[in-house]
Symmetry: C2
Subunit: 406 residues, 2 copies
């Protein structure tokens, strides 16, 4: 019997800023206005010190936990880790998640109307960076009247945002949890991004990004990009376990070009499914933002990038079978943080699930995140939210007491 | 000063068979006629016992060594290892390489005229397997009046053919050298094949394979497929060494969607280049043949597949950074061969070059192949070709005596 709960029904909120004063971007361009879609779970405590910002990966959204009403069966993307008694315990923490700038889940991005033309931005949307995404999140945190986040946590591109917060806004955050990520997007990551983009460009329906009124969208190109992505999220070992060479709905080879192997069927399903929920131009912009991410570019060294962030606590997590963001990236990060004098906890989690492990290794993540946050709450003397807990104290499967402050 | 020579000017030959009796394929379909384009280097000895068949990978051809006249600057794809004094020493061996069935470098494939319709086969070409490719090579070897090959050697898909030869024609070959390969195409390999195929299908110019008379070819889709391939041929480490995050012809980010990073430029170049030399339908057929490759499918165990091949000698080579055909595939193969009672030499070569290492680690390959072939020549008592050597005996950079028989 699970002793952890669910955040239940949630709804997205919209925060709009830069209506008067345009929002400046790293590229030199500006945006006005800027909207961020966000969700929150749990309650902010009296001194507004228990807020955790969750930052999402490439295809994520603000919908990190719970479900929408009427219930559509789609739980938030990190529901396994966010909720009463879960890793990010909503009985103790006020959890915020916003869709990134440039995204297609409500925040200002290429699908939005360009006020200058009254048509969707498409490829007229300015290129954004991880720095821009974080700067927009800072505005949201300002709006929520939170001076200092307890922590910023995210995997993959979410981890880049967590690192950017730590490096650029060390006064605004007490801790950072970068998971399965890197401080500089590697050439292999850039190469994989570029292949996805080339697949989209190659689709005539993409039409230089101008397809919003068209009947045919660049679904074929976007599906190929997503298929490439899905291969990289798994490991060779997890593919062996999950699919092997098993055939889909047949007992012998058909000697034809239809889908025959389960792994082909899986990829096609994932690719096609993605086109129903994601915008091709957003895919271009978000992958480009990741490609530009290089925390040491400005300072010349990663340790220097964290020179002002030594007061923060860090939990760095990598996974042994993640070949997309191999462990040595995290190790390099840990060395730099240590050199900068920061308090770093690092674990290279033994897992066969590849990059996806950060979403799948729930038990390990719960234990790791739980211990780290417990210590943080203790060291930083964080109070419980005001008001009674909505459910009795429970113990989660790791035996950690939940529902009451540590 | 290099002490090894070059095979010099070469020319392709054509061998046509199955004009009367159709050639049966694994699928149950037949082909008639079948042509194989092949090249040979060196001289066959008096008892026709010094022939080595080189089998090529996905994008390879019969042009494994030397150059065509008038010299076009393009050396054969394995010229580093084939020539006087090189690993496959053409002073000692008669080296044969043929384009695979289904290919687009002269052998019968989808670009060829279907006698039934007098138009190019396109997707009416029957699906072929690695077994079919090898069965066609057997016909070529018959035609060359070679009862028994000294060995069959190849990397990647070439290694699959070497294994197929050993398993299916143990009487026709004394040794096999499968390099950077596998005995069963893994789900990750199938997934990567399928993504490449989907990129081609997604290109409207592909037109269900019927594009041979069209002005626009499915170059965009084929280029994306090839870009995916190129990423998999490198390792994360080799990409770091080769490209890092260096920009191409610019000093700072452009904040635009043009090619900015060197690795993007490399991929685009490789992708576009490929479309000038390869046929999209052939890409589909050859990847499909690889996907079907599973030596243990028929017998249920890999050791059983080699039960009749115990008399052969094997040199199995893998590369530590090859994540496409990881070393454990070769280790599994070595276990099976050992269990079958075969004489196996195995080396997992320390290399940062990923799958491409089999073409790039020339010095190591020369040494490895040289020692193995020396032993083979000695054990099997292979004579030198008749006639004087065209150049004096030399020592190659490993100090191995060349130009005279061991």
């Amino acid at each position: 019997m699970s002793s952890t709960g669910d955040v239940g029904a949630v709804q997205p909120h919209q925060f709009t800023f830069a209506q008067q004063q345009p929002f400046p971007l790293d590229s030199g361009a500006t945006l006005s206005p800027v909207s961020l879609t966000y969700e929150t779970y749990g309650q902010l405590n009296a001194d507004r010190s228990n807020a955790i910002l969750i930052t999402h990966a490439l295809s994520g959204s603000a919908h990190a936990a719970g479900h929408y009403e009427p219930e559509d069966g789609r739980l938030g993307w990190w529901d396994d880790c966010i909720g009463p008694g879960k890793a990010f315990d909503t009985d103790r923490f006020f959890v915020i998640c916003s869709n990134v700038l440039g995204g297609c889940y409500g925040s200002t991005g290429p699908t939005h109307i360009d006020p200058a033309t009254q048509t969707p931005y498409g490829m007229r949307f300015p290129v954004v960076t991880i720095g821009d995404m974080v700067r927009a999140q800072v505005r949201l945190v300002d709006y929520l009247e939170i001076d200092q986040l307890l922590c910023v946590a995210g995997g993959s591109m979410g981890g880049m945002q967590a690192l950017e917060w730590a490096a650029a806004y060390p006064q605004r955050v007490r801790a950072a949890i970068p998971i399965a990520t890197t401080a500089h997007h590697s050439p292999m990551l850039i190469a994989l991004s570029e292949v996805g983009r080339q697949a989209i460009y190659a689709d005539p329906a993409w039409n230089n990004g101008d397809y919003h009124d068209a009947e045919v969208k660049p679904d074929a190109g976007l599906a190929v990009a997503r298929m490439v992505g899905h291969i990289t999220y798994l490991s060779e070992e997890s593919m062996q376990q999950k699919f092997g060479r098993r055939l889909q709905d047949r007992v012998r080879y058909g000697y034809e070009f239809r889908t025959e192997f389960q792994v082909e069927s899986y990829l096609k399903y994932k690719g096609n499914n993605f086109t129903r929920r994601f915008d091709a131009n957003s895919y271009l912009y978000i992958t480009k933002a990741m490609d530009y991410f290089d925390l040491s570019a400005a300072t010349g060294s990663l340790a220097a990038a964290f020179a002002n962030s030594a007061a923060l606590k860090y939990l760095v997590v990598s996974f042994t079978s993640d070949w997309l963001y191999p462990s040595y990236h995290s190790k390099e990060l840990v060395s730099a943080l240590t050199a900068a004098g920061a308090d770093v906890t690092y674990l290279d989690v033994q897992s066969s699930w590849g990059h996806d492990a950060f979403l799948l290794e729930v038990e390990t993540m719960t234990s790791l995140l739980g211990s780290f946050l417990d210590r943080l709450v203790h060291d930083e003397d964080i109070a419980l939210p005001a008001g009674p807990s909505s459910h009795p104290p429970t113990r989660n499967h790791k035996g950690r007491k939940t529902g009451v402050a540590a």
